[in-house]
Symmetry: C2
Subunit: 452 residues, 2 copies
């Protein structure tokens, strides 16, 4: 935590503590509300519940909507559940349509209808459009605050039109959308081109044609890919007829990338990406319990496999000592391939087309490593227990398990994706089950066949 910002936040937290302890709530409130709403959210997420409640009570009512937006879902839901309808309405007031849509999706239906009723007609229509698309689609990400121009007008006319806009241009506007009379998307006019070309040029002459509009149904993941690949700042969203519905801005795309990454990372441990670090103990315990339960089933399956060989273990206890080594080596090798494949799918680099190639390559890697490590483990086992038989058996078992683990690790992600199961969530559990079962079965099975 050598970062300036973290340090500054620590100082701020310290200062807030000091001020609160001295009882000067007014001073603390002033300090707090001088922050950007995103920074207030960040602070709230770093505070344990009690202090969090105090600080949340100090936030300006006018800023509450924005602060809520930047919070993770868990904490947002918790705070929303304690707000009454009028306070929520006040918080909703200053928000952009896409942000409001995000918030409304977390509200109880009765409050949603109150929010809708409180809006003017244009805003309500826009909100209903936004709510008509899933949250993780281009339609769900878009904002409806577009500014469009016609291709036949001159830049001079565009400039005069912009200067008459009473609210100015929306935040993060890098281009204007060029549309025909039916509202169909034709291209974009970058502000930088507007500012550097001849004022007598027409929009048609200066506009850019190679910006691909995004269909409203496009997945959020794919939207993020395109923004990353094409270095976009904003992109138009169109309906099936090519009519402009709104636009997506890069700030929302950064959130998508962050959330997707968190999902992959947290999912491996059976956690949700919206998990609040300071969630109530009972809530956390219940969520974690599920994952522990799922994993317990796989652990008992492994135990059952071991149980099949009780008689063998009783005669050669060295097997009990060495068997976790076999299972664990398979687990590590399999996880490496699994991780590579999950990332490949997420980045759109791995599909059924090149799967066979990846599988062949990973199996070759596994063959080399299983040879190397089987020898090492055999050497240690021989030195430890003085039995060539055990050494040979563990070497063969480790090779079998490494190959089986790699095979599963490579194929699981695509197979799960096909079945509509999230590989980031289920991949690890299934893989561990495979490596435990195969590892114990191979090692103890071979021992039973050849040692007794």
């Amino acid at each position: 935590m050598t970062d300036d910002f973290a340090a500054a936040k620590d100082r701020l937290t310290d200062a807030l503590h000091a001020v609160l302890e001295s009882g000067s709530v007014r001073k603390a409130t002033r300090m707090l509300n001088a922050l950007h709403p995103a920074e207030i959210s960040h602070l709230l997420q770093s505070l344990p519940p009690q202090e969090r409640d105090i600080v949340w009570g100090m936030v300006d009512k006018a800023a509450e909507g924005e602060v809520l937006l930047y919070l993770n879902d868990d904490l947002r839901d918790e705070l929303l559940s304690e707000m009454d309808a009028s306070r929520i309405l006040a918080a909703a007031e200053g928000l952009d349509t896409d942000d409001l849509a995000d918030l409304v999706q977390d509200l109880p239906a009765t409050i949603t209808s109150q929010v809708l009723a409180s809006l003017d007609e244009q805003r309500r229509e826009r909100l209903e459009t936004a709510l008509g698309y899933p949250e993780d689609s281009a339609g769900g990400l878009m904002n409806t605050d577009t500014v469009s121009v016609r291709p036949e007008v001159t830049l001079d006319v565009v400039m005069r039109y912009l200067r008459r806009l009473k609210d100015g241009l929306p935040d993060i506007t890098d281009n204007l959308l060029v549309v025909n009379r039916e509202g169909r998307f034709l291209g974009v006019l970058y502000l930088t081109d507007l500012l550097t070309n001849d004022l007598d040029d027409s929009v048609a002459e200066v506009m850019t044609l190679d910006v691909q509009p995004m269909p409203a149904s496009l997945s959020a993941r794919e939207v993020a890919h395109r923004f990353e690949q094409l270095d976009l700042v904003s992109a138009p969203v169109i309906d099936d007829d090519g009519r402009v519905l709104g636009r997506i801005t890069v700030d929302d795309v950064m959130d998508v990338i962050r959330e997707e990454a968190d999902h992959k990372f947290m999912g491996q441990a059976g956690l949700s990406e919206t998990e609040d670090m300071f969630a109530p103990v009972l809530l956390s315990a219940r969520r974690r319990a599920l994952w522990l339960g799922v994993n317990l089933l796989t652990a008992f399956l492994a135990a059952w496999v071991i149980g099949l060989f009780e008689a063998t273990i009783q005669q050669v206890v060295a097997l009990a000592v060495l068997m976790p080594v076999v299972a664990s080596m398979g687990g590590i090798a399999g996880t490496q391939t699994l991780t590579l494949a999950i990332r490949g799918i997420a980045l759109g680099q791995l599909s059924i087309k090149n799967m066979r190639w990846l599988l062949a390559k990973e199996m070759a890697v596994a063959a080399i490593n299983s040879a190397v490590w089987a020898l090492v483990v055999a050497g240690v086992a021989w030195a430890w227990f003085g039995s060539v038989d055990i050494a040979v058996i563990i070497a063969v078992a480790i090779s079998i398990n490494l190959l089986a683990a790699t095979f599963s690790g490579a194929l699981l992600p695509l197979a799960l994706e096909r079945l509509g199961i999230d590989p980031a969530l289920a991949g690890g559990v299934i893989l561990t089950t495979v490596t435990d079962v195969v590892g114990f079965l191979a090692f103890l099975g071979l021992a039973t066949l050849f040692l007794l």
Copy 2:
């Protein structure tokens, strides 16, 4: 893989295949070079080595520089190592300074000096400035293509100035930097404000003061935080005297977020975030071998612990059957806490300040879950082996291991960070060692004390 883009890429790959097989290289070349450089990179990363070499040979020489930029480090290094100096010089020609700096850092020193010598003086100076900062700092991320204006001029003057710029405005320009005579940063003039305010207004009247410039030494992670929190599109970078050095644009920040996320995800499996899915087998095998070796040491440590209790196991084989359950439950619970803490640190939400609170909360969660699951496991063990003693012992051992795992999972990330060790890389291995050793020790130790 239901995404349009993935499907389109598959179709493209198919079409390229078909065209290549029909021998019409010219047609395939035309299709390929109609793509955006980012898309070409993406395609290259999705192809196995042989096809990759063919396609790389078809890329326009003029586009090679950009294509190289979008590749992951592994593949870029590989392709660069096969290019001669003149081809690299040609590829470097059209690149922005920050991009060129990225590329140059991967080149051998002899070629770097040739590249530097081939540049005009201004570009060389800029490149040397960029190379003076670490790649993962604000200085390393910045580009030097800033456009600055003085506060005292009118918007009308600014507009006329922009229209005279012979190269137009740089990509992703959302604001102009307002600087004083000494080049010190004063604020930014958003293009949207330039376009919607009165032409007779001065820059000083219209400019925005609340954009915080970023010191060149700021870490890339912190730069990304600020972009995310404040929804920035570009941000100025300054030196210690407040002089403008350059600016960072959101496209580079998205790359930082993606790389950081990949690092966390891949690091858990001991993989590098730059790992190329289709890297040569021997290279992959060598890299994976290291991780398998590290994990083998911890597996043997666990085996050694089991070995201490050989006599006990020989008398009560049920212990060998059940012991993986104890280790595995600890591993799962510990990983959940570890994952939460690593993410908390990465997001800047967890520090030494609120650590104690997180630890207390996680221990409470662990206490509840250890009680619940200890009972379940005890029940199963009792039903399976008909021994109340074994049931009680496994219940106590699981509780001990869950609590120890959670304690380590919570404290490890901050402790490792303090020691300068990357928790995303080392956290999992250390945690597994703890849960294996504590699990086997508690279970077999208690059994030795009370069963024999």
